[in-house]
């Protein structure tokens, strides 16, 4: 069920790295199920430099607040402002709901593939 073209972190973010363009980052189906109904999303400014593991934003469901962690080193090139307006899409389409686009400069070495992530969340 976890798409094979994504990589995953133990903090339950996914990242799609491919081609020459920036990578897209979101949270996994497991994460959205844990959170429940997502009602609020706070994302960084374009141009922000991120270290792997650094907090890049906040996601809130009705019942909880959770931080978002960067899966890689890089720079934010775009934020999904449409998703900020309708954050509930994270529940209905977690792997299609990207939050930020990142120009990756490193730190992608120890990301998990779909199989390893599925094991982690069992």
């Amino acid at each position: 069920m976890y798409p094979g073209d994504l990589k995953y972190t133990k903090d339950h973010e996914w990242i799609r790295i491919g081609g020459d363009g920036p990578a897209k980052v979101g949270i996994t189906d497991y994460a959205q199920k844990q959170l429940g109904d997502v009602v609020y999303l706070e994302l960084p400014q374009v141009g922000r430099a991120l270290k792997k593991g650094e907090v890049f934003g906040t996601i809130e469901s009705v019942k909880a607040v959770s931080e978002l962690y960067s899966p890689v080193d890089g720079e934010v090139t775009e934020v999904n402002s449409a998703l900020v307006q309708s954050p509930e899409s994270v529940n209905t389409d977690p792997h299609g709901s990207w939050m930020i686009a990142v120009k990756v400069t490193g730190g992608q070495g120890d990301l998990m593939d779909a199989g390893a992530y599925t094991e982690l969340t069992k």
Binding site: G36, D37, V39, Y40, T58, E60, S61, V62, K63, V65
Partner: protein, 348 residues
Amino acid sequence: MVEFGGWDMPVEYSGIVDEHMAVRTRAGVFDVSHMGEIEIAGNDALKVVQHITSNDAGKLADCQIQYSALMTPQGTFVDDVLTYRLAGDHFMLVVNASNIMKDFHWIAERVKEVGGDVAAVNTSSRYALIAVQGPAAKDVLQSLTGVNLSTIKYYWFATGEVANVRVTISRTGYTGEDGFEIFVAPSAAERVWDAILQAGKGAGVIPAGLGARDTLRLEASMRLYGNDMDETTTVIEADLGWIVGWKKESFVGSDVLRQQKAQGTSRKLIGFEMLDRAIARHGYNAYAGGEKAGVVTSGTQTPFLKKAVGMAYLPIDRTAPGAEFEVDIRGRRAKAAVVPMPFYKRQK
């Protein structure tokens, strides 16, 4: 599942928003068996109830209910309760799960003080409690009972059978919708629960958990003990003067309440709406004029109104509707404004 007052309880079944909307538009069924019951009986029962609760239980007829408070001598909340008059010499207090033992010991001490022909008994284990809440609640429940539900007015109760099980049906709830709470023997509770869900299937009735119970009560501006009031806040500060029987003689806490009513208090519980895009939550600090002014007691993004609202204690000169203040949202200040409560009121 989460632990709550010693009970394992579901936070959500199909999702807080889904359950919340079901209660606002159809109906939801809640297992609230964790609530406690303390019965006070004897020829002097009314005297004791009048002494220990804020409201005037002398106004109750048989089968009538009132919202009330158990208070300390300082006028602060030991608990908030519903007082049921089962008979002229027999009352039942429905109390919060986490306070059952505290309340019971408190009441037992007061009974000793008052003396006379009266006893208090903790009957919590005799009852499971199932709440059916929402615009479809009446029709769904009516299909399972011979009691004419239309004849039970808001904050009254009747006894009868639901799904052939002996129950007490009260027209009360904690959601801001029309609905009923059903007291049933624990051994028969599952049968009643299943029957209501089965009968409500066609109407889209679903089970609802603690999460939706909290968002529904907050949207309807009903206070939650432990969040919005406790032993450090008085009934007047919680803006619940309407549950005080002002015409009663002296009762526990009455001196402080009368004084606060006459002279005012330095702070008050208010409702607010966020102006900046942010959600204020329980425990977040409120600031006014750059200074710490109070604290948010409850707050969420409400699923039906789709607004970030909450309650907070603020200095009395900051409590007029429209008054703006700031909430510290994990290190960031976000603007909020005082608004009248309730946030949500159902159409009648």
